[in-house]
Amino acid sequence: MCRNNIYKPELMEVTDIIDETFDTKTFRLKFRDENVAKNFSFKAGQFGEYSVFGEGESTFCIASSPTREDYIECSFKKIGKVTTALNRISVGDTIGFRGPYGNYFPVEVMKGKNVLFIAGGIGLAPVRCVIWNTLDLRDKFKDITIVYGARSFNDLVYKRELKEWKERADVKTVVTVDPGGEIADWDGEIGFVPAIVEKIAPQSENTIAIVCGPPIMIKFTIPVLLKLGFAEENIITTLENRMKCGLGKCGRCNVGNVYVCKDGPVFTYAQMKELPQEY
């Protein structure tokens, strides 16, 4: 009989904290146990259960790229009990981590193709993981386009990286804010993500689109992509259902015949269409 306690987390040290916005932080994490670190690997798009002992567990994606092997990163918005507790954590503190769980972006399939990344708000976190994954293996992919939007300038996350991507010649980066969210010397776009995607009209041939963000953004972006000629199988998104166990047991993320934590979180639009509208 398997005596392994699947609910027991590994311990990780917070080695760096970046303030992304007034309520969003990125943690860089390192396993306390070297053996665990040595045996740990994950793929772009997978997630984990992060815990503050005494407060509970919360689910976020792994926001760093699997090509950066010495650490993992996660980004979270202060929004509930656990994320508020995480927000109080300092460098050197210990948190719990279980994972990696779930499926992943088909990076292998994307090789030799154009990739279009579309993200909104904190939805950039899972996309950032696969963006760095593709940029670290840049010659394996054709054109890379990033479209990222947030409510306002202050809500944009990973600002330093957005700047870095913008400066790179081998990536086309478009950053937009909702009307009214711009600042005085804003040099990006102004408008909602779906409208901006329509405006820049990326080519759909031999292209895979990865779309993550608030449900409303996904809802209006997908018709634009379909109009541009993207096949349903080439539009990839993640479902962000509430989870507790991450192991396909606790029942929260059950949508139709699927446990999002096991069969997802990455789904193509073709797969998503088959599911009942419970996400």
């Binding site: 005596r3 027991k8 567990e57 029942g251 015949n257």
Partner: protein, 350 residues
């Protein structure tokens, strides 16, 4: 299948031996509220005429609440301590959990739940109890308007899930059928309490049990759910449902749970796995406030669809035994069998 005869007196002796050897003997309590660990043979209730207890014995396999680990602050780090379990005390492996008098609508519950607790990741908290369990089933002479075991592929005489199966022959004797290998091994030390069985007499008793007419056709309902997901029938039930979760807690196979930290102070605490229910409004709510199942109708639909479709599709089992506990206990009188029957009627009209 081997069959023996055991008198009520000898069954008591058998239970007395088990209790003395420190096995966990679980029996229904006298008031049919739930199940408890028996400490004395006077507490034995093996009544084939009795109504199913309000709660099933699920909690002896899938605890209402149990620690999954303890944590203790240690400077910048934490020590995580496993709860006392089989690994810690090898003798516990020998301690059987004997379920005494499980009706055919209770006995399959362990097998049904074991699918979800073992696909891919294995839940040791369930497994270490399930593997020690011995289910002594009991033929059922009870039937009321809430029962519907025959509609979900079981019946009052089915041995599914039982390791041993009792059939009351008269005031003093039971036939005891040895159903599984696990059951065969288990009865070996007690064989002196048993005499030669009389299968003919047993069959006569079983044949007399009247089978309830089926209330709905499962296959039909299963097919209907997906294409009719937005049907008003679910909202109609949702308007009545209070979302109290009684149905899930009473259910012998509902298995949703929550993970929370409890009894914490600055230096230590524990993480718990607690029963939860998909009927609660907060069950699926996102951090943003978005809730995929934001009405009681949608939550009730999840209950029906998970039991009669999703679990079937995924694991090939119906997540329901037809015991009727959820309906008997419902504070607003929702009868799941009637709801599913109604769905069946609607499906037939198409």
């Amino acid at each position: 299948m081997e069959e023996k005869l055991i008198s009520k007196v000898n069954l008591k002796m058998l239970v007395a031996d088990l209790i003395k050897a420190n096995h966990i003997v679980v029996g229904q309590d006298e008031k049919a509220v739930g199940w408890k660990r028996l400490s004395h043979t006077d507490e034995i209730v093996v009544n084939s005429n009795g109504v199913p207890s309000n709660l099933s014995y699920k909690e002896f396999l899938f605890a209402k609440t149990e620690p999954i680990f303890y944590f203790r602050n240690n400077k910048d780090n934490y020590d995580l301590i496993e709860p006392a379990n089989v690994a810690a005390s090898p003798n516990l492996d020998e301690q059987k959990i004997v379920i005494l008098g499980a009706k055919p609508c209770d006995a399959p519950s362990i097998e049904i739940m074991s699918h979800v607790f073992n696909w891919d990741y294995k839940d040791k908290f369930f497994n270490e109890k399930a593997e020690r369990s011995i289910v002594i089933g009991l033929a059922c002479h009870y039937q009321d308007e809430f029962c519907f075991c025959t509609s979900v592929g079981l019946n009052p005489t089915s041995e599914a899930g039982s390791d041993l199966f009792l059939v009351p022959l008269d005031d003093k004797n039971f036939a005891i059928k040895i159903v599984s290998d696990k059951g065969k091994e288990f009865v070996q030390p007690f064989i002196q309490y048993m005499s030669e069985g009389n299968p003919k007499a047993t069959s006569e008793v079983l044949d007399k049990i009247k089978l309830q007419e089926r209330k709905f056709e499962q296959a039909k309902v299963r097919e209907w759910i997906a294409p009719n997901f937005e049907h008003k029938i679910f909202d109609k039930v949702g308007e009545t449902c209070l979302g109290c979760g009684q149905c899930a807690f009473a259910c012998p196979v509902c298995h949703c749970f929550d993970i929370v930290d409890e009894e914490c102070n600055y230096t230590c605490g524990r993480r718990m796995k607690n029963w939860d229910a998909c009927q609660f409004g907060l069950f699926t709510i996102h951090g943003s406030g978005h809730n995929p199942r934001d009405t009681q109708g949608k939550r009730y639909r999840q209950r029906i669809a998970h039991k009669f479709k999703y679990y079937q599709d995924k694991f090939g089992k119906t997540l329901c035994t037809g015991c009727g506990r959820c309906s008997r206990g419902c504070p607003v009188g929702i009868d799941i069998a009637q709801v599913v029957r109604e769905i069946n009627l609607v499906a037939n009209q198409v």
